[in-house]
């Protein structure tokens, strides 16, 4: 045993000797020999690839991220075929412990209900108000016409047409669906009983379309439709989003600020394994359907050089990648949460029993 430890120490000394580790985190260093493999959620894929590209320019580190879906990412990291997994739905604390994993939030986003009333000439985003219960009732099929009294009473200024509501949902398993159904479950008892939360659920009504772009396309085309997409898709496709009522009772518009408000008000500290679902969070300005995307790694690592390069990358993303994130309509993790995450790294991630973060 002593001999093994000795060898590990020697190896790490050798790598240190190569001049890879001794520099501060954000400086340019040569990581061109390092190849990091990750797989999982498709929601953060555009951002991860942009970050990886930029980081590669700075350090030479190669990151290969395959957006195979959250379920796939979890399976791959458990099987240790990748260096990190990514998932839109957090793993439960027990599940993490069982497999010797830790997870931390990397980026956030918001899910936005979008509508289309060509007939009513309603084009301005955010002009339609819906309460949470009403949104659940629509997706349950209980409210089937746009001129329903319940919708009318919330929106006295809009001349709502006698138009059938067409619900559009995701057909593929998706983290977006997970976040959206989690929100509906929190605000509606009936939804909790009949449908529940999942990356794919048994939808009471509606048509399914593949991917955010598929839902956006259907909603754009079908008059009287309502669907849900990631914020970026609503913005890019100029869809008419809905104003929702949050826990504090305010009607809020979806925006980077209202997503961040939800994240800032969440109780990260008392949630083991960062098991925080950002739906229906307290706060004056919190958007009620916000979600974080998680990175999952093994606690016990074998290759010090690789794990340190990987953590350097994540650290760089947290600190230097924020502008890139907001440019792509993602929401950066608040800095107090970043500090907590990096503390988790130093306490949990080890190579041969020794902490590898922060780099010394």
């Amino acid at each position: 045993m002593k001999k093994v430890l000795g060898t590990i120490a020697m190896v790490s000394m050798m790598t240190a000797g190569l001049g890879i580790i001794s520099q501060p985190a954000c400086a340019k260093e040569d990581l061109s020999k390092v190849n990091v493999n990750g797989a999982g959620a498709s929601f953060p894929y555009p951002l991860y690839s942009k970050w990886a590209y930029k980081f590669n320019e700075l350090t030479g580190m190669k990151l290969n991220y395959q957006s195979i879906g959250s379920g796939g990412g979890i399976a791959q990291i458990k099987a240790k075929t990748v260096d990190f997994g990514a998932s839109d739905a957090p793993l439960k604390h027990e599940d993490l412990e069982q497999n010797g994993l830790i997870q931390f939030p990397m980026i956030m986003g918001g899910v936005v209900p979008v509508v289309n009333f060509q007939a009513a000439g309603l084009k301005e985003a955010g002009s339609l108000k819906l309460s949470n219960e009403l949104l659940a009732d629509i997706f349950l099929g209980k409210v089937a016409m746009w001129n329903d009294e319940k919708i009318k009473s919330l929106n006295p200024s809009i001349d709502l047409p006698a138009l059938e509501i067409t619900v559009v949902h995701r057909s593929d398993g998706s983290g977006t669906t997970w976040i959206f159904t989690n929100f509906l479950m929190k605000v509606s008892e009936e939804w909790k009983e009949k449908v529940g939360t999942g990356s794919a659920v048994s939808w009471p009504v509606g048509i399914g379309s593949k991917g955010n772009e598929g839902v956006a396309n259907y909603v754009k085309r079908v008059d009287g439709s309502i669907g849900y997409v990631e914020y970026a898709y609503a913005v890019q496709n100029k869809l008419t989003y809905v104003t929702l009522k949050n826990q504090a009772g305010n009607y809020v518009n979806p925006s980077i600020e209202s997503f961040q408000a939800a994240a800032a008000n969440a109780d990260w500290e008392n949630s083991p394994g960062y098991y925080v679902v950002l739906t229906d969070q307290p706060g004056e300005n919190s958007w009620p359907i916000t979600g974080a995307s998680f990175i999952i790694v093994h606690k016990e690592q074998a290759n010090k050089e690789l794990v340190q390069a990987m953590l350097t990358f994540f650290d760089w993303c947290y600190r230097n990648g924020q502008t890139m994130a907001t440019e792509l309509d993602y929401v950066p993790i608040p800095s107090n949460v970043v500090e907590m995450v990096e503390k988790t790294w130093s306490e949990n991630i080890v190579v041969g029993g020794k902490s590898v973060w922060p780099k010394k």
Binding site: E164, S171, G173, V195, A200, V201, S202, I207, G208, R221
Partner: protein
């Protein structure tokens, strides 16, 4: 049963070559068996949980872990049926035109176009179906169908342009080139002597076509149709885009449905729960069996037909 026709004198290299080719051929069988076993093993969990009701239940609920294949099987069969109903007659007519009725140059040009259609990736058909064909359906074809057949339940429902009927039509367009090409070649192989004797007897073009040309190549034509059928049963991407993906069985062809392949394409990536995964694999297993049974039935039927009708090809 011998693997090859044995000849008494086999020299060394010949033997090695024969052995090699036999191994390659057996590899195909080994693959089929391996796929079968793997599917059977991985779907065991679902079959043990739900038993035979897996095939009959319409429920598909990943949250409660309650799975049934009925809606997917129904969707697969109904879209394939629509595709065949459209594609087979159309292919026959196109093939006849190409082989019999037109100038060879025209035949060559149109024939090449049809072969090109076969080379288009299915994802392109899917995108085209979603962005171009579905709006066209909802604006022109579906209102017309509802107006023309107001009492038929199969044409009731929302006119969204997506759903079972649209998926069937897209499938028809996709399998059309396969069937057409094979049938055209079959028609071209009908000996001129046979046809000319028909004309010599004073038959019209129509009579020669349906009593001689089609009859002569009947078994091959049916074979071509089964080739298309096999493709339609398993087609994934194009169907996923336009079928609407809901796990419900409804009488209306305008409503959304799902096929086995589309369900797999949609849910496989995010299926983390073992029972969900196993149920999806069980769906794949069902598709495997359906395709297998269809092919075997086709073979048997062809043999039967060959006996009773004769025919030259």
């Amino acid at each position: 049963m011998k693997l090859w026709n044995s000849r008494s004198s086999l020299n060394g290299s010949d033997f090695v070559f024969r052995l090699l080719s036999a191994v390659c051929a057996l590899l195909v069988i080994a693959l089929i068996v391996a796929v079968f076993l793997q599917l059977a093993e991985s779907s065991m969990l679902a079959f043990r949980q739900f038993g035979f009701s897996f095939l009959l239940s319409q429920k598909w609920n990943p949250v409660t872990g309650n799975f049934g294949a009925a809606s997917s099987i129904y969707g697969t069969l109904i879209t394939t049926l629509i595709a065949m109903l459209i594609a087979v007659p159309l292919s026959l007519v196109i093939a006849l035109f190409l082989a019999e009725l037109t100038h060879p140059v025209v035949s060559k040009v149109v024939g090449t176009c049809i072969e090109l259609l076969a080379a288009i990736p299915s994802i392109i058909y899917g995108m085209w179906g979603l962005f171009v064909f579905a709006p066209f359906m909802s604006v022109y074809i579906q209102p017309w169908l509802q107006a023309a057949f107001p009492y038929l339940p199969i044409f009731k429902g929302p006119k969204m342009g997506i759903g079972v009927l649209s998926a069937g039509i897209i499938l028809a367009i996709m399998i059309l080139p396969f069937i057409t090409c094979v049938i055209r070649d079959v028609f071209k192989m009908v000996p001129a002597v046979v046809k000319e004797s028909g004309y010599g007897m004073g038959s019209t073009t129509w009579e020669v076509t349906h009593k001689i040309t089609v009859r002569y190549g009947l078994t091959s034509i049916v074979g071509a149709c089964f080739l298309g059928l096999g493709r339609a049963l398993g087609e994934t991407m194009a169907v996923t885009f336009v079928i609407g993906n809901s796990h419900r069985i409804t009488p209306s062809l305008f409503n959304a449905g799902s096929s086995i392949a589309s369900t797999l394409a949609n849910e496989f990536a995010e299926a983390a729960d073992p029972l969900h995964l196993s149920s999806l694999i069980a769906l794949g297993f069902v598709l495997f069996i359906v395709t297998f049974v269809v092919q075997v039935a086709a073979r048997l039927w062809l043999r039967q037909m060959q006996k009773s009708f004769g025919g030259g090809l």
